[in-house]
Structures are given as C-alpha cells and as structure tokens.
Amino acid sequence: MKKLWNNKGITLIEILVVVAIMSIAVGGASISISLAYSRDAEKCAKTINSALENTRMMSMSEKGNFTMELDMTNNMLYIKSSEESEPVVTEDLQRRVTISSPTDPGAATVTVQFDKSTGKVLSMSPESSDGILRIASENNNGKKATVVLVKGTGKHYVEYK
C-alpha cells in the first residue's frame, strides 16, 4: 500500500537543536529589549540636561528672558521666551519614565532661569537650601539617572547612581 504520510517524524537531536537555537534567539532579543528599556532613564536625563544648556546659551546670547519649564506629571519640557507667546522648544519626554525632584518630592514642575551675563542660575524652583537642584528620572526597572544643577555656578551634569 502506498504510504499517505511520511511517519518518520523528527529525532530528539533535531528537536534539541531547534530548541537550542530558539532559546539563543529569544535570549538575545530579550536582552537587547531590556537594554533599550534600561536606557530610558538615562536618555530622559540627558534630554533635560541638554535643555538646561540650551536655555543657558539662549539666555546669554539672545534677546529676552528664557525659562526652562519641566512638567513632571505629563513628562513635558518647554523652553519659554519672554519675547514669544509660544514656547521656543517643546519636548515630549519618555512616557515610561517617572520624573521627580528629590529636592522637593512634592513638586509638580521645575522652572529654571539663568543670568544673562554670567550664566549662573538666576532663579529656580523648587528652591533648595544647599544650592543644588536635582531632577531624577527613573524607569520601570528602577534604573535611575539624575540631573544635578549647581545654583552658584550654573554648572549641570547627569549623575548615574
């Protein structure tokens, strides 16, 4: 009788090889996905840090007063000019990141203004007693990156801890 099916099937070794290859592929994919996610906080902090620099540069070189405003409930960042009604820069930060200010954990917004001649911080809120403003970004995995702003000199940088 003519065989309808090839009933040979697959050997155990073949199954093992396939499983091994699949597990390597899945493992690699999940590692790269989690890596991409874990950089969220870092990326967000870097965006805030460069927005601070941007505000300082514009304050020192362009007409008008510039304010960096960070809306921490909606993860939105604006740079506003006293000369224009619309924000000069609008940036939508990562949704997966929680932004807060360890300087004042209750604060919903952060605003910073720079001095036009020296580039030092003119005013900032929340105000702190030690002259340091911190803005922390944290992602779901607990990865954290903090922007540190020094009031006395206007120096700011990202700190990873």
Binding site: R56, M57, T118, V150, K151, G152, T153, K155
Partner: protein
C-alpha cells in the same frame, strides 16, 4: 521552489556541507562589513556628542573665570609653573580675585571676593564667592600665601558638601600668567643716573594698569573606554578696576611679591 523530477517525486538531495559553508562564509563577510559601518557611525556619533559637551563645558567655565577676573577688586595668585602641583595628592591651586585685607592691629585677615580653585586629582574647578574671615597671619610677607592656604581650607571636603561650588569638570590644566608687559622691570641705570622719580622705585615692584592676565584651560573628556577628546582654551583678560596693589608669585619663582600700581615717571 523545489525542483521535481519527471516522475513527480521530490528531489531530496538538498545541499552539501560545502555549499552550506560557502553560504555561511559569504554571509559572514557581508555581516562583518555592515557591522563595521554601523559601529563606525555610532563611534562618530559618540565623538560628536563628546565634542559638544566639552565645548559647552570649556566655554561656560572660561566665561565664569573671565567674568571673575574682569570684576575683581584685588588679585592674589600663584602662576601656573610656580605652583608645583602634585596631581597624585589632594593639592589644588587657588587664585583670589577680590579684596584681601590685613588688620595690622589684631593681625587678622579677611577676604571679600571670589576664589577660583582647580584640583587636578578630580579634574574639577570650583568657585567660592563671599566674605571670609581667614584668621590670623604671621607677618606681612607671608600673609598672601597664608590667605591662599586659608581659602583652600574654606572649601568643604570633596563630596556632596563641595558640590554647591562646582564650576567645571574634566579640567586637566588651569593656569594664570601675568603678561610681562604689565610688570615694570627694575631700572638698569646706576643710582647716580636715575631721576628722583626713578629713585623712589628702588626696592619696590610695580605693575602697569590695567593688570592683564593670560588664562589657560585644558579639558579632556573620555566618551568611551580609552577614547578621549581634548580642548584647550586661552584668553587675555584685563582687570576692569584700578587696583592699588596685587600679590603675584611669578613663574620665575621669586616667591609671592606685592606689586604696586605704577604711578608713572
């Protein structure tokens, strides 16, 4: 896809190991080329980012230094080569731009102004502005150096307490040098040939107004393991105010000397 023979049966021959290996080799070569391109683009991106970072850092910190010197109401500093810094230790340079007052009656000194610090060990610069009581001094000759040492003591220890004074990072060199044209050279004439005005100068050191200082700063930023980008900045800055006297230890190393403003001949 599958080639079939005339009888309708499948050709089950498949590929030989050699064919498979050749295919692997070819794809490996292509992938290697692609990954090299991606890698070099990423590296270029990293380098460009680092350059922007270091430019911002150097420009803003040089601006602050220039601003401090411009508006100084007095000066007391050791020039770069005379400072003998050992980067392995906690040693740092400290330049004072402001009024240094010595109360002769109670032998007490105060400083009102801004101090600029550079600590090679951490490659950081700090700025401290305010009104500081620096305590006692031994005698007038040693007082300026003692004031610098006392101001170093005013800076909090490395860590969070020092953070409020941080001005710049990645600083690998910071130096101040008085322009030679600002320092009046001692007269080479013999005392008999000197005019009365010139005779008054004997034993004193003078600088010509305005005091002009050459500021040199170098930055080094590591953006990847072992990959660095560097930047050097320098500028000549003149003190805007008419200073009566300044304290400078010059590179020729004769110790800290008080220079008076040259009244002219």
């Amino acid at each position: 896809m599958w080639s079939t023979s005339e009888k309708g049966k499948r050709n089950n021959k498949g590929m030989t190991l050699v064919e498979l290996l050749v295919a692997f080799a070819v794809s490996a070569i292509i992938l290697a080329g692609l990954s090299y391109i991606i890698f070099s683009v990423l590296q270029f991106y990293g380098r460009a980012n680092a350059n922007v970072e270091i430019q911002n850092e150097s420009q803003t910190s040089l601006n602050l230094v220039i601003d401090t010197i411009l508006s100084a109401k007095g000066a007391c500093y050791i020039e770069q080569d005379a400072s003998n810094l050992d980067p392995a230790t906690d040693d740092m340079t400290c330049a004072l731009f402001g009024e240094l007052k010595f109360d002769k009656n109670v032998k007490n000194m105060t400083f009102i102004g801004t101090a600029i610090y550079w600590q090679p060990k951490y490659r950081e610069m700090y700025l401290m502005t305010g009104n500081y009581d620096l305590g006692a001094y031994t005698d007038e000759a040693k007082a300026p150096l003692e004031a610098i040492a006392a101001m170093k003591g005013q800076l909090p220890a490395y860590g969070d307490a020092r953070l409020p004074y941080l001005m710049a990072q990645y600083v690998t060199a910071f130096g101040l040098e008085t322009l030679d044209s600002c320092i009046v050279k001692p007269s080479t004439k013999s005392e008999d040939e000197m005019t009365e005005a010139e005779k008054k100068r004997i034993g004193k050191n003078y600088f010509t107004n305005p005091l002009t200082i050459h500021v040199n700063m170098e930055f080094e930023y590591e953006y990847q393991n072992g990959k660095v980008t560097t930047r050097q900045m320098d500028d000549n800055v003149s003190v805007r105010n008419r200073l009566d006297s300044v304290y400078i230890q010059r590179n020729d190393g004769k110790g800290m000397i008080k220079y008076l403003r040259d009244p002219g001949l």
